[in-house]
């Protein structure tokens, strides 16, 4: 076989393996989109949202459309293939094959380039390149990451190419050619820039290679610097289309992300030794009480997997010994650097990392350094391994042993990556914090289409960190969210409007609240989507549904209930008075607004403010109905998740609400996932009391429609006691379920300072509010010190740990401290708004510490300077109609695109008025009357989030009026510039290729 044929044979083998692997992923014939990122099921659907700078209506953080990087290549690829008529499924299949194959291919080319000069035989060269690139494509790092890896995989394609072109430049010194190559390569992983922490290490490879070259040859400093400058310039121009929107709001964007990043830092995950076998993900051995995130992690400790997982590193070392040339040495240095960076705060030299993390500007983006720097590890191990294999094959050339290498090495690589190869790392169960990756679009998204999701309110969403409820379609991931324009389903940290809406909605959940209509008009809500109440496990939602159904016309369709808001408020109208925000709240007006409204059932904070508690509000969305726990002396269940006990998957709430001991009304809702994704239409049950404390499910009772189940309860109940009932995974059995009374046997200390320790038994401190007045509001503030220094913690306000305590009007601040998460800042101020729940004379507030994800065993926080701040509780906002009594006047308008609205001329304006545009306030929204732009001092914040312009009688309003987003026109220019520079780079490259071809001829 000729050399070329051997090369293409091995490349084809890489492709074939990619196809087989992806085939394994699709064993359930379901699309893969994991959790909240349902957009991955069909990115093409969201194409139009990525070509405008503004895509969201209630987006109040000052950010623009930060999803823009995802336009290329993933969205373009999908648009192209879907445009060709390919189904979603096939398109996704091809995409997966490509993202599995292309990293391998680029690594193959790199290894080939490096080792070709030192190679004696084509077969050995390409076999070793094949095994090295196979390792790069399938390894333990990828086992630990999600299957789609929209940020990671494209960066993996880019990393070897970036190095390849830099090496080629260093050899040929063709500056323009390779600068153009690098610029075009940067486009391949442009989508990864949505999280720059993934791309910075890739770009940095160019710098590393050039610096390494300069260290070895000082004379190259000038040449290398010029090349670097030109490359950076071209990369900048080619990527300007996504850099531009980021630049416009750089300060606010960075500070917002930094605040949220502080709360989740996994810089100290595993011992240094594990990084040698590429295990460093924080969740490797973690999980919930019932479920490991990586159920296969124990396999890697057995006598076969353990040595093999280490052997790749050893092979990498041999690579440098066999071929001590400039490339292998470079990759050895890269490997060392990679381990240093990926291991984060693990010793040795942890202090340097910590210093950089704390003081180096922007270095905090590497809060999860393992996943960000692991490309350095797998690339250097892959390349060096390939080179060492070549050496080994030559060493054993005359022996039959070499054939064993040919068979064993690819086998070992794939064996270690078996969860990827067989698709086992794709979670198919809905477990707390680990959601099914086999998903499809929620029905309502398909019904409305992504574009028409505006002004649709989705009533219930699953907060991050809680049981994933995909089938019902309401879910939120605070960190990655695509379809931002629909605040109602979005739970993203970065959309303060989303919080505003969802929190108000949640707050008003107590049904029959007449203020709800005001709230809808405030946001111009046109439609409401709720889960079909038969399918909800929160019985309170049934009440909400009943309430809304009494207000609006409803249509029940499968899993959803669609309600049409009658006479919805238009998006553009004029009005004489609006709710305006006092100037003193300008910094955090949204939270202030909620404070004012007394909406403290959940905690709401503005994203832009200096504390980081917006995350906390994410975790405690009151759409979570607290499940009343079975409390034993040792456990306070985590309220972040629906409580799951041991092997059970269901949690029921039973409320003893009768005086008599004879009958208990149990409101029981089944989790729909119990029956293979189909819900059981359960109803309320009557339970007979027998003198026992067992509850047994048996198959004697007929229910509507489907399965037959009866609850026979043998309970000894007391008024006011709360119980949960739970069943094991498989309901097709008879269960004995112990129901225990809540225990309140705890020592509640009252003190000014204190230490909260989370050990095997959770603990809390309780304080009494002096001279409590239920007509007032209180905020509790405390300074905290983290005593246990290798753990991080998450702060959030939560419900009291015990229902008994809650009933006594006790609010709790919940300190969650999962060891293994490393804090950078160990002290800070927390504050806890206190909502009067009962009109009692006494009220308490406390701090609880709990462990979130069953990690570790100990955490400790010391609290000082605990003080109470008394606040007034005005409630004007929701008690009066948002739209004033005089009513609004609808205005004719046309929505040209998300950044341009044309309003018909306003005539007969008798007095000054306000033109309201119910799209999130941003100073870049402008109102143009004729050719005159209204000055900024007449642009006001309306109703806490929207745009308003003060119109005067004297304005010439009989002309054409336009509301437009001013940056969009620059954005179009930037787009064009990027396209032109990309084409120029292509032309430069074509010229060089043509020249080479021409010269050869």
């Amino acid at each position: 076989m000729t050399e070329k044929k051997i090369k293409y044979l091995y490349i084809s083998l890489l492709l074939l393996i990619a196809i087989v692997v992806v085939h394994n992923w699709y064993k359930y014939s379901l699309p893969i989109g994991y959790g909240d990122e349902y957009w991955l099921v069909d990115p093409a659907l969201f194409f139009k949202q990525l070509i405008y700078l503004w895509s969201t209506h209630y987006y109040t953080t000052g950010w623009l459309n930060y999803n823009i990087p995802q336009l290329f290549p993933i969205t373009f690829f999908w648009v192209a293939l879907r445009g060709l008529g390919l189904s979603r499924f096939i398109t996704q299949y091809i995409w997966f094959v490509l993202i599995n194959f292309l990293p391998g291919l680029s690594c193959f080319l790199l290894i080939e380039y490096i080792s070709k000069k030192y190679s004696t035989s084509a077969n050995k060269l390409y076999f070793s390149s094949f095994v090295g690139s196979l390792f790069y494509s399938y390894n333990l790092v990828l086992v630990q990451l999600l299957p789609y890896q929209p940020h990671f995989k494209p960066a993996l394609i880019g990393a070897p190419l970036v190095l390849l072109f830099t090496f080629k430049y260093l050899e040929s010194r063709e500056t323009l050619k390779y600068a153009a190559c690098l610029a075009l390569t940067s486009l391949i992983f442009a989508e990864s820039n949505i999280n720059i922490a993934y791309t910075i290490p890739v770009y940095f490879l160019i710098v590393l290679a050039l610096v390494y070259n300069v260290i070895k040859h000082h004379s190259n400093l000038l040449k290398n610097s010029l090349f670097l400058l030109l490359s950076v310039f071209l990369i900048f121009l080619v990527n300007l289309w996504w850099i531009f929107p980021y630049m416009l709001t750089f300060t606010s964007t960075i500070s917002t992300i930094q605040e949220s990043a502080k709360l989740w830092q996994t810089t100290n995950t595993r011992d240094t030794i594990d990084y040698f076998r590429l295990i460093g993900f924080w969740g490797w051995e973690a999980g919930t009480p019932n479920y490991d995130y990586f159920p296969f992690h124990a396999t890697y400790e057995n006598l076969i997997f353990l040595p093999i997982s280490f052997c790749f590193f050893l092979l990498a070392l041999l690579g440098v010994i066999f071929r001590p040339n400039k490339y292998t040495k470079f990759f050895f240095v890269l490997l060392t650097l990679g381990i240093f960076l990926a291991k984060g705060e693990n010793g040795p030299l942890a202090g340097i990392f910590l210093f950089m993390f704390t003081h180096l500007p922007l270095f905090w983006v590497f809060r999860d350094p393992f996943s960000k720097f692991s490309p350095y590890l797998i690339l250097s191990v892959g390349v060096l391994m390939g080179i060492s294999l070549q050496g080994l094959l030559e060493y054993f050339d005359s022996k039959k042993f070499k054939y064993l290498i040919y068979i064993l090495m690819p086998f070992c690589v794939l064996l270690i990556a078996y969860p990827v190869v067989f698709g086992l790392f794709i979670n198919k169960n809905n477990q707390p914090n680990r959601r099914s990756y086999y998903v499809d679009f929620p029905d309502y998204v398909l019904r409305f289409g992504s574009k028409n999701l505006d002004n649709v309110m989705v009533g219930y969403y699953t907060p991050y960190g809680s049981d994933y409820d995909w089938k019902k379609g309401f879910s939120g991931d605070p960190f990655i969210l695509f379809a931002n324009n629909n605040i109602f389903e979005s739970n993203t940290t970065f959309s303060a409007g989303s919080k505003l809406f969802n929190n108000i909605y949640s707050t008003l959940l107590p049904h029959n609240d007449p203020r709800f209509k005001n709230f809808l008009s405030w946001f111009s809500v046109k439609k409401i989507v709720l889960p079909n109440d038969l399918l909800t496990f929160n019985y309170e939602y049934r009440s909400v549904h009943e309430f809304l159904a009494s207000l609006y016309k409803q249509e029940i369709d499968g899993r959803y209930v669609y309600l049409d808001v009658s006479d919805p408020t238009p998006m553009v109208y004029t009005i004489n008075s609006v709710v305006s925000i006092p100037a003193k709240f300008s910094d955090a007006w949204r939270s202030a607004l909620l404070d004012y409204a007394g909406l403290y059932r959940t905690n709401f904070y503005s994203v832009g403010d200096n504390n980081s508690k917006h995350i906390a509000s994410n975790f405690v969305s009151s759409t979570m109905i607290p499940i009343i726990p079975i409390t034993t002396d040792k456990d306070i269940p985590s309220y972040l998740n629906s409580y799951r006990h041991d092997n059970s998957t269901l949690v029921y709430k039973a409320v003893m609400d009768k005086d008599s001991l004879k009958t208990l009304q149990l409101k029981v809702e089944f989790d729909s996932y119990v029956y293979n994704g189909e819900a059981e239409p359960f109803h309320d049950f009557k339970l007979e009391i027998v003198n026992s404390n067992k509850i047994i499910f048996s198959k004697d009772y007929k229910f509507k429609n489907t399965s037959d189940w009866q609850i026979i309860a043998n309970l000894n109940l007391e008024k006011g006691d709360n119980y949960i009932l739970y069943t094991p995974n498989n309901p097709a059995k008879i269960y004995d379920i112990d129901v225990q009374k809540p225990s309140v046997k705890r020592n509640l200390t009252l003190a000014t300072d204190g230490t909260v320790t989370a050990t095997d038994t959770n603990n809390y401190i309780l304080y009494e509010i002096p001279n409590y007045n239920s007509n007032k509001q209180y905020i509790m503030e405390a300074t905290y010190d983290l005593l246990h220094d290798d753990s991080a913690f998450v702060l959030s306000q939560e419900y009291g740990p015990l229902d008994k305590l809650e009933q006594k009007n006790i609010e709790f601040l919940y300190l969650c401290m999962p060891p293994g998460y490393s804090p950078i800042k160990c002290d800070g101020i927390v504050n806890l708004p206190i909502i009067p729940k009962l009109k009692s004379q006494k009220a308490y507030v406390g701090f609880v510490m709990d462990r979130m994800f069953n990690l570790g065993s100990l955490g400790q926080i010391k609290l000082h300077n605990i003080r109470l701040i008394e606040t007034i509780k005005p409630s004007f906002l929701f008690d009066t109609p948002v739209i004033s009594e005089s009513g609004y006047k609808a205005v004719q308008y046309k929505n040209i695109d998300p950044t341009l609205y044309q309003v018909s001329p306003l005539t007969n304006l008798k007095a000054d008025t306000i033109l309201v545009f119910t799209n999130a306030f941003h100073s870049a929204w402008k109102l143009k009357i004729g050719n005159q732009v209204l000055p900024e001092d007449r642009h006001i914040v309306v109703n806490g989030y929207a745009n308003g312009w003060i119109l005067k009688k004297s304005d010439m309003l009989n002309q054409k009026i336009e509301i437009y987003f001013v940056y969009q026109k620059y954005f179009v220019i930037v787009y064009m510039l990027s396209i032109i520079v990309s084409i120029l780079c292509l032309l430069i490259l074509s010229f060089f290729i043509y020249e080479r071809f021409f010269k050869k001829k």
Binding site: Y118, Y212, I215, K216, H217, D271, T272, I273, D274, F276, E301, L303, L306, P307, F310, C311, F313, L314, L317, L318, V320, I321, P324, N325, K326, T328, K329, F332, V333, L335, T336, L337, I339, F340, K343, G347, P348, L349
Partner: protein, 106 residues
């Protein structure tokens, strides 16, 4: 290979012994930083006194790694953690060796 190992047995033995002793010190709850510094100093002395070549350093590193893996198969305590850190320290030293060498390699 055997000849090579024979020639370099002194740095090999010293490094492995140093690592084992340092790991035991760590096991005896000595300050990790101090223990790592002791190991670094011992290896630096070996490196400079015996004028180890890059290849020898790498062989020492690989051998220590092999010892570590064998140990790790049977145990996963502090001893192994400390040895893992020594591997990283050796990598750092060898990387410095690579960077300091002028015009090295082919």
């Amino acid at each position: 290979m055997k000849d090579f190992l024979k020639k370099n047995k002194i740095p090999l033995i010293i490094t492995v012994l140093a690592s084992v002793v340092c790991s035991l010190l760590r096991f005896a709850m000595f300050n990790p930083l101090l223990v790592n510094i002791v190991f670094t100093v011992i290896y630096m002395i070996v490196l400079f006194r015996l004028k180890l070549s890059l290849t020898t350093s790498l062989v020492v590193l690989s051998s220590l790694f092999l010892v570590l893996v064998l140990l790790r198969i049977f145990t996963s305590g502090l001893l192994v953690v400390a040895m893992g850190e020594h591997i990283f320290i050796l990598m750092l030293i060898i990387s410095s060796q690579i960077l300091i060498q002028k015009h090295a390699g082919t």
